[in-house]
């Protein structure tokens, strides 16, 4: 009896199953369309900028169009203007220089906070973060004057120092978050094996937290690369990095959109790729342990 019954029900079940399946597919399709639309809208300005970089100046200001014959002329022009490479080189030196310096200063500090905590550790960490909340504009004048008197205005050294200090709190924080994930036993085993503090850091801590250190470093590079307040105010020409170069296009006489787009594309491309590759790691450090 039961078998016949189930036979009779089978087509109905199948029909119901198909309907459920179809509505689920529809829902998935809807989500995909929505997700992609949002992503494309958000990305559109960047996409448009990259596209404009391959247009002629005339096409750039003509009615928006996806169809045109791409040209590399702008990239040639931008490279030909000796300026671009100076600015780009300045950006590279300052971003990487300040990041290396910040890591060098921050690693011992984060090590001691993570593995030799005292009653004051938490307070020190919060204080460091609070220095980050000090608006740079509040101290712009003194820094400007100090730099002027020390001859650091418009120098790579000066900008590197500023970026190092600017990023130090966040670098210490992120490293601290990553270091805290390392089981302390491993460092203690090293201590039993006769490792000095420096050896512990070099042979054990650094190799074991390399992904964390790398993503911290990359975030620091990104923040330095994109920093626009100090670079606009403390440099004029000699040491000006890319943000200052790009800003020079805001003046009416600098309005060559296609060239601007080409230069901008070159200015953001390395960091964009960096960011894409390391977003997950980077975010974990940035959540300050709020997300495991």
């Amino acid at each position: 009896m039961t078998t016949t019954l189930s036979h009779k029900d089978a087509p109905m079940d199948a029909a119901r199953g198909n309907a459920a399946l179809r509505s689920k597919r529809l829902r998935n399709l809807g989500i995909a369309v929505l997700g992609w639309s949002v992503a494309l809208i958000i990305f559109f300005p960047i996409f448009w900028m990259i596209l404009t970089g391959f247009k002629t100046e005339a096409e750039a200001i003509a009615e928006p169009s996806l169809f045109f014959s791409p040209t590399l002329e702008n990239y040639h022009d931008v490279q030909a203007r000796a300026g671009y490479f100076n600015f780009a080189w300045n950006s590279v030196v300052v971003a990487f220089g300040s990041t290396l310096l910040a890591l060098l200063i921050a690693i011992p500090s984060a090590y001691s906070m993570a593995f030799l905590p005292t009653k004051r550790t938490k307070g020190t960490l919060l204080w460091m973060l609070s220095t980050k909340m000090l608006p740079p504009v509040g101290v712009l004048v003194p820094i400007y004057l100090i730099f002027r008197d020390l001859g650091l205005l418009d120098t790579l050294t000066g900008l590197t120092i500023v970026y190092t200090l600017m990023n130090l709190p966040i670098v210490v924080w992120m490293l601290y978050t990553f270091f805290k994930d390392l089981p302390q036993d491993i460092l203690e085993a090293g201590r039993m094996d006769g490792a000095s503090t420096l050896q512990e850091i070099v042979y054990l801590l650094m190799p074991l937290t390399l992904p964390g250190i790398a993503s911290t470093g990359l975030l620091s590079v990104i923040l330095s690369w994109n920093e626009s307040f100090w670079s606009l105010n403390l440099t004029t020409s000699q040491a000006a990095p890319l943000p200052a170069y790009i800003a020079s296009f805001s003046s009416p006489e600098g309005l060559f959109w296609a060239k601007l787009s080409a230069a901008s594309t070159m200015a953001i491309a390395p960091i964009l790729v960096f960011g894409w590759l390391t977003q997950k790691q980077m975010v974990r450090g940035l959540t300050f342990g709020a997300v495991k």
Binding site: A39, I42, T52, S109, M133, V139, S228, A290
Partner: protein, 296 residues
């Protein structure tokens, strides 16, 4: 675990001190010297264009600033900018995080596209929006408006602050999305399934399970964004230069105008002190929030 954590505190305060000294000393110098100088200058008559007129000014600079309508307008602009961008990015970021947590075709690529603006330097994004998106004649938005028969809008003159808010939100939305998405992904599936067994629909799950789970991540987003939003500068510098009038002049930009355009160090420093006080009020509130995160 606790017992191993507790251990370190014994091995010697001296070691802790020497390891932390470089970072702490540098930050202390970086903070205190300019701070002291700013406070000092704020009581001085000091204009770089008039070197002969140096001297003690008392509270003159503050009086001048506090009676200057520009200051109040700048403070209002700063708060509006921070408030709107925070609201847009946190709400938008949460919704997007829920969206991008769903599995769909090409999700990884779509997500990477959506977070891209975070990696674009502020001067570039400001220029792109100014020249290619919002330009009244050649911008994409103008073209779109015209193609549906609407008059093209000159964004930066008719809605200057809104335009800035849009640009800054575009830059920070991806950051909120990144952090909140990471947080959502750490949500225990069992919890969601238990709620579903209890008969909760998607909306009930969002408000009763997902949102509470995101609380700490949201507080981190607010904190970090606040640090950067209080000092938005390049976006204004590149697009509106604070105008029209004072419509988009925030505190950071006002001090910049006073110091580097008017060369009035005294007044600029007084503005700096006010900015620092404002930031400290915010910081006290923020640090509490983070300290709570540190607890567990």
């Amino acid at each position: 675990m606790n017992k191993t954590r507790a251990s370190g505190r014994t091995v010697g305060g001296l070691r802790t001190l020497s390891l932390q000294a470089p970072a702490v000393t540098l930050l202390l110098l970086w903070m205190l010297i300019p701070l002291a100088m700013t406070v000092w200058f704020s009581f001085q008559r000091y204009n770089l264009l008039m070197p002969g007129m140096k001297g003690f000014a008392g509270t003159e600079n503050y009086e001048y600033l506090l009676t200057d309508p520009a200051l109040w307008s700048a403070m209002g602009t700063t708060l509006l900018l921070v408030g709107w961008v925070l609201a847009i990015t946190v709400v938008g970021g949460t919704l997007l995080a829920v969206l991008f947590q769903q599995d769909f075709f090409g999700r990884g690529v779509a997500r990477v596209l959506a977070i891209s603006p975070f990696f674009v330097m502020p001067t570039v994004s400001a220029l792109v929006w100014k020249n290619m998106m919002m330009h009244p004649a050649n911008g994409v938005l103008a073209w779109m408006a015209e193609s549906v028969g609407l008059p093209a809008m000159d964004w930066f003159s008719s809605l200057p602050l809104t335009s800035i808010i849009i640009i800054v939100s575009w830059q920070w939305l991806p950051f909120a999305l990144l952090i909140l998405l990471t947080a959502i992904q750490s949500l225990d599936d069992d919890q969601v399934e238990a709620a579903r067994m209890d008969g909760a629909g998607p909306i009930a799950i969002f408000f009763n399970i997902t949102l509470p789970h995101l609380k700490r991540a949201i507080s981190v987003v607010i904190m970090i964004e606040m640090i950067f939003l209080l000092t938005v500068f390049a976006e204004i510098f590149v697009t509106t230069s604070g105008g029209p009038g004072l419509a988009t002049t925030n505190l950071a930009y006002l001090i910049y105008i006073r110091a580097l355009l008017d060369f009035d160090v005294g007044t600029a420093s007084a503005g700096g002190v006010i900015a620092i006080i404002l930031a400290n009020i915010v910081a006290i509130f923020l640090v509490r929030m983070v300290a709570k995160n540190l607890e567990d």
